[in-house]
Symmetry: C2
Subunit: 289 residues, 2 copies
């Protein structure tokens, strides 16, 4: 299969236009799998299978940092999406395959009073995954050029320089040993309506609905434009942006699992050599009865 990363990477040579990406498309899906009635089942099985691989990779990442923190690395998955884009579900299915002991998950809501008294990256830096961990940001510093821009929470001469500040910040992260994987889950306006309706119709989902979501929905085009500019300006080889068509949940999880797997593969992880004398420890254990 062709590398999912090359299929899903945004092309930032020219301005990104999200209208060019069909949220119902399924790039990279093997032929004959697109339409079959059992495609969903097949994809879920694949996510389970890849999930086991991810769990092993995560354990190796953790193990290396345990044996020698100076050589340890970390991985940061940044997830962004419009409301109902499926961030929570994707985290549950893909990150949920790993041992929660090695996950470092942070959901960012509106900044608190204290956070507002600091620069916009302050709370982000505090939430970075330690060496050996897989961090997941459910929303992120990108909100500071998305909701902040669309709702004019700060003037343009404050938010516009943030693209560069974000790029600088992410370069520091990468230089310090963190692999950064940024993913936008891309849904259509129609799919969002369906999911919002489901939240209003299903009593187990009422809590997920927030009337503010309809305000954001009313500004759909502004958000898409803000996303497009963020993807264009903050995509780079060291901290690339990927867009996953996300109207089909099973495809979303399948594609994300692949992206994470390919990201781990680059790290060429192994279980570390012991930093103690194996034979001596064996003798000691055998001697103690």
């Amino acid at each position: 299969m062709s590398e999912m990363r090359s299929l899903l990477r945004v092309c930032s040579d020219r301005p990104v236009d999200l209208a060019d990406i069909d949220p119902r498309s399924t790039p990279g899906l093997p032929n004959k799998k697109v339409t079959g009635a059992d495609t969903k089942l097949w994809a879920r099985g694949e996510v389970d299978r890849i999930g086991d691989e991810l769990a092993t990779q995560q354990e190796m990442l953790f193990a290396q940092a345990t044996v020698d923190p100076r050589l340890g690395r970390s991985v940061l998955l940044v997830l962004q999406a419009m409301d109902c884009g499926g961030k929570d579900g994707a985290v549950k299915r893909v990150a949920g395959a790993m041992n929660p002991l090695g996950l470092h998950i942070k959901a960012f809501g509106p900044p608190t009073e204290e956070e507002r008294r600091h620069d916009f990256l302050w709370r982000i830096r505090k939430a970075l995954p330690p060496v050996g961990y897989v961090g997941v940001f459910n929303r992120s510093h990108y909100e500071d050029v998305l909701v902040v821009r669309v709702n004019e929470l700060v003037p343009e001469d404050v938010w516009r320089p943030r693209y560069q500040e974000i790029n600088d910040f992410e370069r520091q992260l990468v230089d310090a040993g963190t692999t950064v994987l940024k993913v936008m889950l891309h849904i259509s306006r129609d799919e969002q309506r369906e999911r919002l309706t489901a939240r209003l119709d299903d009593p187990t989902k009422h809590w997920k609905f927030n009337p503010d979501d309809l305000d954001s929905r009313a500004r759909w085009d502004d958000y898409q434009a803000a996303y497009a500019e963020a993807l264009t300006r903050c995509d780079s080889d060291q901290a690339p942006w990927y867009v996953i068509p996300a109207d089909r949940k099973w495809y979303r999880d399948w594609a994300l699992a692949h992206l994470v797997r390919e990201t781990f593969a680059d790290l060429k992880l192994n279980y570390p050599e012991p930093d103690y004398d194996l034979a001596a420890q064996r003798r000691r254990l055998e001697a103690d009865g």
Copy 2:
């Protein structure tokens, strides 16, 4: 099935003696399940099934705190065990069934330089789960009356008052809306030898072995005595201690899943009522095309 909590709760009316609890026993396991060749498979299936229930309970806990943080509650699972007792595996299997977004997991190692400059509960308080979250402590403040006592890291007149300080601390936690579930995974000295041997024999487990583990093993009886006193002095109806016989991993996970399920059941969780006008929001959504 009889309640697992009543079967596994320590009896602190008289001093606890861990020698009275067989680490290979399987309290509460349905008849005919103890010896069957497929018992392990059956238990794993049960853990999966209960895991789905736990995921729903966790979501309701999270949902309530989202809608009204003042009414929200949290759950804190405190896990203690000798080395190789299975804490990591239990977290992976049982907490791993829940959405990692709602988990707040903290593993406590030796205190850092900074942590040592504060009272022993300082780092513990900082790691408590927020309202709506399920917290898991992999080791905990109990280390301050376990390893600290056995290795005489502080004099007795410092560690001995800690039982009372822990009880006071946990009462405050419970009063503030946290349900505290304390579990010791109880393995035998023989089982520990087997697991340590496996760590030395299997290259994918070398990193889990720490020569210090053999020092602790050499003081097995002192540790068992320190555990027994902690269980005796810090068991209470509001923050009870449970001991899970843990030589059999499948039983360990099965029993822990039941304990967590029963703990959730007491909270009588439900999906919260919406705090907005459903009909009005439906009209608004329908109007927007």
